[in-house]
Symmetry: C4
C-alpha cells in the first residue's frame, strides 16, 4: 500500500484491495486450525493408545481442514490471477470483492460444523451447509469477475478471448458446488469427493492458464 | 514498510502506519467468524432437520457478522482514502489512529454480545452496547481526521474544499450512531436498520468522492 | 519482501524482518479482544439492567485490553524507529528479535490472567505476572538494540550520539517494569498505574525523538 | 504484491507467494498463544500463592510454546533464504508450498495436545504426534526445495554447488525428526531435547550460509 500514499489520484488502484484481500485469505486459512479441539480425555486414566485412538477419531476434522485449506488456497491463486489483469477498481469491485471476502472468512465455521457432525445422523445437513458456503463463494467470484473485467478497468493489453474464456470457466463454479450440495443428501462421501475434485480441477485450470 | 528502511529521515512517514492499520483491519474483520459457535446438539439424537433448524436459529449471529463485516470494510476503505492525502505523520496522528485501531479490534466483542442476547429480554442493552462501539469509532475517526488533515501533514496538492467537505461529512458519524444507540431502547430492529443504512451510506459517500 | 527476491545478496536485509515483525505485532494486538468473554447470564431471566451491569463488571478486562493494546502499539512504533537506522541484519539480530516477538505474542495470555484475577485475593500475583511479561519484553528490546546497533549493521549516516542516547534510554525499561512488578505485591492499582505511566512515557520519548 | 499488478506476464512471480507465506507464518506463530488457558481456580478461595503455583504448573505449555515458536521462526527464515534464489514459480511450486503452509498452520494443534498430555501417562503419544508434525513439515520442505530449485525457476546467477549443498542439508530433516518421533516412545524428554537441538541446528546452518 505505501506506494500509493502521497499520490492522491494514482492510476493503479487495485494494489490496496489486493493486499487487503491477501491478508484476509491468509488469516482465514490459518484460523482453520482453531477448529481442532484437543481430545478431552480423563487425564489420570489416559494411556498412549487411548490418546492415539482419540487423535485418529478426529479424522473428520482433518478432512475438513485439508479440503477447506486447499479450496481457500486455490481461490487465493485465482483471485491473484484475476486481478493481475485489472488496473483500476471502482465501488462495485470493492463491494463484490468485500462480499467474496465475507464468505471466505466464514469458511472456518461450516468447516467446524462439518467436523462435529460428519459422523452423526445429521451428516447430510452439515455437508450441505459446507457445500452451500462454496456455492456462495463461487457466486461471489462470478460477481467479482463481472465487476472487474470491464473494459475501463482492465489492463489495456488484456486479450479479449482471455476475458471471454475466464468468464465462461467461472460460470461452472456455482452449479458444480450446487451438485455437491444436492449430493450431500444422497451420499455424504460423494459430496466431499466432489469438493476435493473441484479444488483439484481449479488448480489444474490455473496451471493450464499460466502455461499458455 | 521495507522501502523506508535505511532512510532515517524519510519524507513519507505514513506508509508504515497504513500497512500496520491494514493488518489490524484485516485481522479484526476475519476474527468475527470466531464468534460463531457450532450448535451443541446431542450427537446421538441429532438429525438433518434439527441441525438445519439449529443453524437457522443462529440468525442473530449472521446478522451481527454481516453488519460488523461491512462496517469494518467500509471503515477500512475510508481510512485509505483519508491517508492517501496525508504525506507525513506525527505523534498525534499515531495516537489518534492507535485509539481508532483499539476500538476496531474491539468490534468482534460487541458483535458476540449482540448475537448472544438479540433474542432475549436484554436485547436493547446488547444492541446499545453494539451501537455505542460504533459511536466510539466514529469519534475516533473524527480525531484521526483532525490530526492528519493539518496543512503541514497533507500532500501539498490537496484541494482545500476537499478537506473542508470531508471534515463536515465525518462530523455526521457520531450523532448518527448516537441515534442508533438511543433507538435500541425503543425498537431493537430500528437500531440495526440504522447501522445497516449507515454503512451503505458511507459506502455511497466514498463512491461519489472517488467518481468526482 | 518481494523487492528482495531475485537479488540473492541484497544489501538491505532488514525489510523482511521488519515486515514479519509488523505482522506479528498486528496480530498480537488484535488477538487481545479474544480474551473478552460474553457474560454467561441466564438467557430467560436476563434484562437490560443485568446485562448492562455484567458488561460493566468486566472493567478489569477493559483495563487490561487498553493497557496491553497501547503498550504493544508503542513497542511497535519503537521497533520501527529502531530499525529505520539498521541496514543489515545477521543471525544475532534475528535471534534477539525472535525472542522479542515470542514475548510480544505471549502478551494476550498474562492480559487474560490479569482480567480474570484482578478482583480476587490473587490479584497481586496476576498483576506481577503481567508486569513480569513486560520486564521480559524490555530485556529483549535491549538485546535487540545491542544486536542491531552495531557499526557494521547501522546505516552509515547514523549519528553516534543518537546511538548512545537510545541505548541509555532503553536501559531504563527493565528496572522500570521491575518496580511495577514489586509494586504489585504492595498495591495492585499502583502497579497498573506505573504500567500506564510507562507506555505514556515511551510514547513521549518517541515523539521528542521524531521532533528532534 | 501490488508491484505485479498491471503487468500480466511479469518475470518475477514469487513475490506474491512469498508475501502470502509470510502472512501464514506470522499468523501461525502468533496463534500459538491461544493454546494457553487461564488457570480455572475457585475465585473466592484463590490466593497469590495458589495462582502462582497454577501458573508454574503450566510449564508444559510454555515448553511447547517456546519450541514451536522458534521452530516456526527458523522455518520462516529458511523459507526466505530459499526463495531469495528463485525468480519464477509454477503450479508445482504453488502446490508443494501450499502443502508446507498447511502443516505450518497445523502446528498450534499438536502443540496444544503436547501441553495437555505431557504430564500424563499418554505423554509419549502426545510427543510423537508433535514430532510427527515436524516430520511432515521437513518432508514438505524437501518437496518445496525440489520444486523450486529447478534450473528454469532459479535466479540465473545461483551457484550450482549452493543448490547441491542446500538439497543435501534439507534431506537430513525428515530422518532427524523421525528419530525424535521414535525417541518419544523411549524417553519423552529426549524427544523434546532433539526438537530443541534441531531448531538450534537449523539456526546455525542458516547463519553459516549467510556468512559465507
Amino acid at each position: 500500500m505505501p506506494e500509493h500514499a502521497g499520490k492522491p489520484h494514482a492510476e493503479k488502484e487495485t494494489g490496496r484491495l489486493e493486499a487487503f484481500s491477501d491478508g484476509v485469505f491468509a488469516i482465514a486459512i490459518t484460523l482453520l486450525v482453531l477448529e481442532l479441539k484437543v481430545p478431552d480425555l480423563n487425564l489420570s486414566q489416559v494411556n498412549p493408545a487411548t490418546l492415539g485412538k482419540a487423535l485418529l477419531a478426529q479424522w473428520p476434522s482433518y478432512v475438513g481442514l485439508v479440503t477447506s485449506f486447499f479450496t481457500i488456497l486455490i481461490m487465493w491463486v485465482h483471485h491473484h490471477a484475476l486481478f493481475k489483469n485489472v488496473s483500476k477498481c471502482d465501488a462495485w469491485v470493492h463491494f463484490t470483492n468485500g462480499s467474496l471476502l465475507l464468505v471466505v472468512t466464514f469458511v472456518p465455521y461450516p468447516t467446524s460444523v462439518l467436523a462435529r457432525y460428519l459422523e452423526t445422523p445429521a451428516a447430510s445437513m452439515a455437508v450441505a451447509f459446507y457445500c452451500g458456503t462454496f456455492v456462495l463463494i463461487a457466486i461471489c467470484f462470478n460477481l467479482v469477475l463481472r465487476a472487474a473485467f470491464r473494459r475501463k478497468l482492465l489492463v489495456p493489453s488484456t486479450p479479449m478471448d482471455f476475458v471471454v474464456k475466464t468468464c465462461r470457466n467461472y460460470l461452472m463454479g456455482p452449479p458444480a458446488y450446487g451438485v455437491a450440495l444436492v449430493a450431500a443428501f444422497v451420499e455424504v462421501r460423494l459430496a466431499l469427493l466432489i469438493c476435493t475434485a473441484l479444488w483439484i480441477f481449479w488448480a489444474a485450470t490455473i496451471m493450464r492458464e499460466q502455461r499458455a
